[in-house]
Amino acid sequence: MKRSRRVILTMMGSGTIGAISMGFVKRPNCGPGFVREAGSNLDGRPITTCRPAAYGGFGRWPHHLHGHGHGHGGG
């Protein structure tokens, strides 16, 4: 509707997609089911502890329905 409009992409294209699709946030090094947390011990010195966190609580339902298809255009 405006001939002067400019569409600029800052991240996408030329291999960026591959990096994005594989490069989501790193797993913490506490092992599966745990996340790292900074804190302090009784002496006040900083320590890192691993606290439990649950993962995988989203993303399972579509497997009840069918293999995931070509997107969500219908909803």
């Binding site: 294209g13 994005i20 989501f24 946030v25 947390e37 969500h72 255009g73 909803g75």
Partner: protein
């Protein structure tokens, strides 16, 4: 409205690859198809598509205001009762919507008719906002299109402006099923526009969302998820194990929970009930309610919850004449009056009319050789001539 055959750009695949559009061809079949385009007059765009899109959106908001306060309607939509407060609270807090897409039947005459509202997880925003615009610009440069052609398309700049409303400087998580190239491209594009609005972003798989009792939803990097765009339907979130955590988490979701009302095809029946005879609506009724018989033996049968045309059937004189198989329908069906799609050279186009922050601002077209638009329907560009 015309369908005009035209020459392809010789290098369109390379152009697509360079812009990150890597699902232009799926299983050897074209998804992006520029061997033809649809041409509109400016009056058709403004009077028949843009104006009615805004009007339909306004009706949808009025519908939500009524439905969240009426348990009878929530039951008719088969929304699980456990999530009524989540939906109601998100509406009362006026949680913002980023975008949505109305699917319209229109062939160049008469009013456009609403087929459904992709209110929760619409895809094809990248090809609508970016790649068809590139097609228009290159088409004119290479004299494949008339000089001075235009396009109903300000999606890109509207998205950037809409993100700013969610909070410049905030951290946005974008989650979806990253095994799907289309979903990943949609998320990457929206991430790009969010970054241009100066939001910080993290892209992650929906399965990588975690839960901690002391801080709610977290990513894999221990960061609390305060603001999340999810390309994953609300009804699936309700069914997932973390569904029961939604109400106690402070995460603000985009699209917000109240959009679950509008992505439910029962909204088509509720709209007709609330705005009977509106020129842009089709008569529609819940199949298990007595007034469904008003449509007689010819109608379109749609599950309350379905995606990409799955589990939809066209019934004419009591006989199923077209059907897309699918896994949906457990929650029930609606019946919608038949609005046969226009036929251009043996192709049936559906118009996708986009809203960003409730502003009509773009058009996309999917066409197929069958009258049910499915997940393999091709995307064709459009121009205003």
């Amino acid at each position: 409205m015309q369908r005009i055959a035209c020459n392809e750009r010789e290098d369109w695949q390379a152009t697509a690859a360079a812009s990150g559009f890597d699902f232009h061809t799926i299983d050897g079949a074209r998804y992006w198809d520029e061997r033809a385009f649809y041409a509109f007059t400016l009056a058709e765009i403004e009077d028949t598509i843009e104006g009615p899109t805004g009007e339909i959106d306004a009706m949808c908001l009025e519908l939500c205001a009524r439905v969240v306060e009426d348990e009878r309607h929530l039951k008719r939509l088969r929304i699980p009762e456990a999530f009524w407060p989540l939906i109601r609270d998100s509406w009362r807090r006026d949680e913002g919507s980023l975008y949505g897409r109305l699917d319209l039947s229109y062939g160049g005459s008469g009013p456009a008719k609403l087929l459904e509202y992709n209110a929760d997880t619409p895809t094809s925003i990248f090809e609508a906002a970016v790649f068809q615009w590139t097609w228009l610009e290159q088409g004119m440069e290479r004299r494949l299109l008339a000089a001075g052609a235009d396009q109903f398309n300000s999606l890109h700049e509207r998205l950037i402006e809409a993100w700013k409303k969610f909070g410049t400087g905030k951290h946005l998580h974008l989650a979806g099923m990253l095994e799907s190239p289309e979903d990943t491209t949609t998320l990457a594009y929206l991430e790009d526009t969010a970054k241009q609005a100066s939001l910080e972003t993290t892209l992650l798989d929906i399965e990588s969302i975690g839960w901690r009792e002391d801080s709610g939803f977290v990513d894999l990097d221990e960061r609390t998820i305060a603001l999340a765009f999810k390309l994953y339907p609300w009804e699936w979130m309700f069914h997932d194990a973390f569904g029961e955590r939604l109400a106690e988490a402070s995460t603000r979701w985009i699209e917000p929970p109240w959009k679950a009302l509008l992505s439910n095809k029962g909204m088509l029946a509720l709209l007709w009930e609330m705005f009977p005879g509106h020129p842009n609506l089709l008569p529609a009724f819940f199949e298990d309610e007595p007034n469904a018989v008003r449509l007689g033996a010819s109608f379109v049968r749609k599950p309350l919850l379905s995606r990409e045309g799955a589990s939809i059937a066209i019934v004419r004189h009591g006989t199923v004449v077209a059907e897309q198989q699918g896994p949906y329908g457990a929650e029930g069906f609606i019946r919608q009056a038949l609005a046969p799609l226009p036929n251009f050279a043996g192709q049936y186009p559906v118009l996708g009319s986009w809203l960003v922050d409730h502003v009509p601002c773009g058009l996309s077209i999917r066409e197929d050789t069958t009258p049910i638009t499915g997940n393999m329907s091709r995307f064709l560009p459009h121009a205003i001539l």
